[in-house]
């Protein structure tokens, strides 16, 4: 018998554990990747075309003669470029993504499949209505789910994202005030814990901002609010549950106070995922609220968009809704595209984010009324479990029961030399995406953790163990461990000051060669 003893070594005995630099700069699966401008050329292409016939041009004298410079890649080169780049991203599918206020829940792949059905995806927005009845039906059915879940009579579907939905709601309020001749009502009350988009939106509607402080329990300070109520108040913009992850328990009284002076109640619905199936905002006295389909109803975040922000309106605001909207007429659906004299106008070229509508309805149908309620309860339970389990080592900002997210301050880091940012960067090395930091502004060094219903108990337990261990390590004085982090990410900490001082926003041959 002949025995081959030349084969590969199967034990790591002889392998050194020392750190070393590779000659290429790559690190195994983690490859460095140049820009397309450095690897592609304008003449290369990954798309084949039929031959041109040589028809006489009708471009007039306007043919493009300059060099555009756009680089091309063949398909295999393009695949490698983008796959390598993708591997430098963290994602929900890789682990806990506890970004408070962002609701990073699982994105079911059925929804992706449904959105790509040619009957939805390959449909032109201006096709004759007889050819798009199924699409209009889908919009109508999604509207029905949204109105039923929120307890509101009407929903405007066209807003393209959360902030666009805010704009929709506030424009409806402005239009309603104008219709009543209430030109003196221009002051909008905004709690200091509000999302920054709230004041920015109100200003676009010609309103001025009056900030309301929070009380010690992280809610609206009712005394301060009462003092600010007056005839010139146009309305209030309130997030509920608020950005501290707490239910505004005086919300019904707040609505009454605002309505008492003829104002309107805008509720920022970014956190509606804490209420679905358990509370209908319509029962709280609100007049307008946007939904983030990309948060509450799980359409993917896609690295920052596209979002979708359908906005529910009360009976009082309904006549002012933007165009277009779907209307049932006899056996079919009709699209109302031209504004009457009450509608405040048009927010986008077409009808809204159809691709997101399909995904959201797929999500709703899958869950049903029972599953949606369960998802809400699990999200709130998960957040409370995290809060309770971290309270020994970290510092809950307000304590008590939270809703879908748990807020901590940096009190437990006091005197350690470790700051919230360092703590967050250390989480990256442990394999987690950091929580939301330094928001809301009402809590010092805020850390806002939203686990969502998508995390199993086992996954949460591992996360909790790591967070507690990191907190202990910070208190033990190992500052260098935190200041150096992250070590194991594709890049170390980036110089944001340099980026902002001398902005380099595009590649240019002369500067980057």
């Amino acid at each position: 018998m002949s025995m081959n003893t030349q084969g590969r070594q199967t034990t790591p005995d002889a392998v050194s554990a020392r750190e070393h630099q590779t000659v290429s700069g790559n690190r195994g699966l983690a490859q460095t990747e140049k820009l397309i401008f450095e690897i592609g050329t304008p003449r290369r292409s990954g798309v084949d075309f039929p031959k041109l016939k040589g028809v006489k041009s009708r471009l007039g004298s306007m043919a493009r003669t300059d060099e555009i410079g756009l680089p091309g890649l063949s398909e295999p080169e393009a695949m490698r470029h983008y796959v390598r780049l993708s591997q430098k991203n963290y994602a929900i599918d890789m682990g806990v993504y506890p970004l408070g206020s962002c609701t990073m829940k699982h994105n079911p792949r059925l929804n992706e499949k449904m959105a790509r059905l040619p009957g939805f995806a390959d449909l032109h927005p201006l096709q004759p209505r007889g050819t798009v009845q199924g699409a209009l039906e889908l919009m109508d059915e999604l509207s029905h789910w949204i109105c039923t879940l929120t307890g509101m009579p009407v929903v405007a579907m066209s807003p393209k994202a959360g902030a666009h939905g805010e704009l929709c709601g506030m424009m409806a309020i402005r239009a309603a005030l104008d219709a009543k001749g209430a030109g003196h009502k221009r002051r909008v009350l905004v709690p200091e814990s509000a999302h920054g988009t709230n004041p920015a939106t109100a200003v676009l509607c010609g309103f001025s901002i009056d900030t309301i402080p929070a009380n010690d329990a992280g809610r609206v300070d009712m005394e301060a609010l009462r003092a600010k109520i007056g005839d010139d108040v146009a309305g209030i913009m309130l997030t509920n549950p608020n950005t501290c992850g707490l239910f505004e328990n005086d919300i019904i009284e707040i609505a009454e106070l605002i309505h008492g002076v003829g104002g309107y109640f805008y509720c920022d619905g970014a956190n509606f995922n804490a209420l679905v199936g358990r509370v209908r905002p319509g029962d709280l006295g609100i007049d307008a609220m946007h939904l983030n389909l990309h948060k509450t109803f799980s359409t993917p975040h896609g690295g920052g968009g596209p979002g979708s922000g359908p906005t529910v309106l009360s009976e009082a605001l309904a006549p002012f809704a933007p165009v277009p909207y779907v209307e049932k007429q006899g056996d079919g659906w009709h699209l109302v595209e031209n504004a009457d004299d009450k509608s405040f106008g048009r927010m986008t070229a077409f009808h809204g984010q159809m691709g997101m509508f399909t995904r959201a309805l797929s999500y709703m149908l899958s869950h049903g009324s029972d599953g949606l309620k369960q998802a809400t309860e699990d999200a709130v339970l998960n957040a409370n479990y995290v809060q309770a389990s971290l309270s020994g080592e970290m510092s809950p900002a307000f304590g008590g029961i939270c809703m879908h997210e748990a807020l901590f301050s940096d009190e437990f880091l006091e005197g350690t030399g470790v700051e919230t940012l360092d703590f967050a960067k250390a989480m990256i090395d442990e394999g987690y995406h950091p929580m939301t930091m330094y928001f809301p502004l009402v809590v010092k060094g805020a850390m806002l953790i939203e686990p969502t219903e998508s995390e199993s108990k086992a996954e949460l337990d591992r996360f909790i163990d790591v967070m507690n261990a990191l907190a202990k390590k910070a208190k033990s004085g190992d500052v260098a461990f935190f200041k150096a982090a992250p070590i194991y990410a594709p890049l170390r900490r980036l110089d944001e000051t340099r980026a902002a001082r001398k902005p380099v926003l595009r590649w240019r041959e002369e500067t980057t060669a």
């Binding site: 890649l73 032109h124 869950h367 029972d370 595009r506």
Partner: protein
Amino acid sequence: MRYLPLNENDRAAMLDVVGVKSVDDLFVDVPEAARLDGLIDLPTHMTEAEVDARLTAMAGKNRAAGAGPFFMGGGAYRHHIPASVDHLIQRSEFLTAYTPYQPEISQGTLQVLFEFQTQVAMLTGMDVANASMYDGSTACGEAVLMACRVKRRKKCVLAPGLHPHYAAVTENLCQYLDISLDIHAPAPGKDVDVLNGLDKDIAAIVVQSPNVFGEIIDLEPYAVAAHAVGALLIAVFTEPVALGAIKSPGEMGADIVVGEGQSIGVGLNFGGPYVGLFACRQKLVRQMPGRVCGETVDAQGKRGYVLTLSTREQHIRREKATSNICTNSGLCTVAFSIHMTLLGEAGLRTLAAINHEKACMLADKLTAIDGVELVTDTFFNEFTLRLPKKASDVVGDMVAQNVIGGLHASRLMDGQDDLLIVCATETNSEADMDAFVSALKGALS
């Protein structure tokens, strides 16, 4: 429920740790009057197969654009998208990531944004671009607001060739800001009217090319006229493929260029999601709305990318922010960028040339029909016909023959009932064109 990992044992153990008896105790802050008992009146959960069947049936009630001859444009265009684009954007790391606020673990998204910004700047002939807006129409509205900020003036002129929905969106965005808009009623061949009566109160003139009727506009005289009164030229486009064939707005002197990017990589999607492109001159960059990605280095000096100039945004400037927009079209920018990379300059130019050829061929075939007149002398892949009949009726008749034969102008504007706006792209075969010709003949007879 297939999407919920917790089971009853987990829930009981976790409630115990929280220190409450039941999940109802977690909702104690909700006013009693607003607590719901039982389930909301909606259907209960469905299996994946059931949902699939239900939505597939609904999709089946639509006539997909590709299910027959299709010649519609008007702000959204049907192009072939390489299969690899959709495959790549469905990678978890692109699909299920959030906004790249943690640059160390978001370099994938950030580098694509940097590449995207450069591609948009090259395409439009501008210095810089942002990381995208909701769509072309909202980008147009934001450009008008930006021009008013830059010039500290409160008036803009919108040309008659601007897509009427873009004008409506811009009007909507400006209506409470004390900005006056001079909106010319849409009509073919009338863009030149905006050159008359410009004054020094004007912050910008907004001109689209190719315009909503398909005409190609030489933007240079508009840039000269705008600059003569100290105003900016905002150039708009709805078909980015055109920029592979016609002069860039930057070359003709535009200061801000906005447009719809849907043609490249995104697909029709019944109107959304789309991707708004926004580019401008370097000196205006601090007033540019929206997210921007910039180059920097990490602690070891390695090149990397971050979101930058964020002080313009709402979370810092709040009511003084340049815009209330805090999102971009994320995944659509990735799709756009991948498709553009697959094309490259050579591919884009060829794609544009084929589109133009198809449109020329179709225009010849259609204008050979008695009574059909070509209104637009120059065009790229979209042109306008004057019909001897009401165009909306003609479109309806053609649908009965399974031909979606263009867009009747009256869908977008008043007073142009006999105009039909027709688009041809690389997706149209000669057989499609012949079917269109015979359907149009039938509808006119």
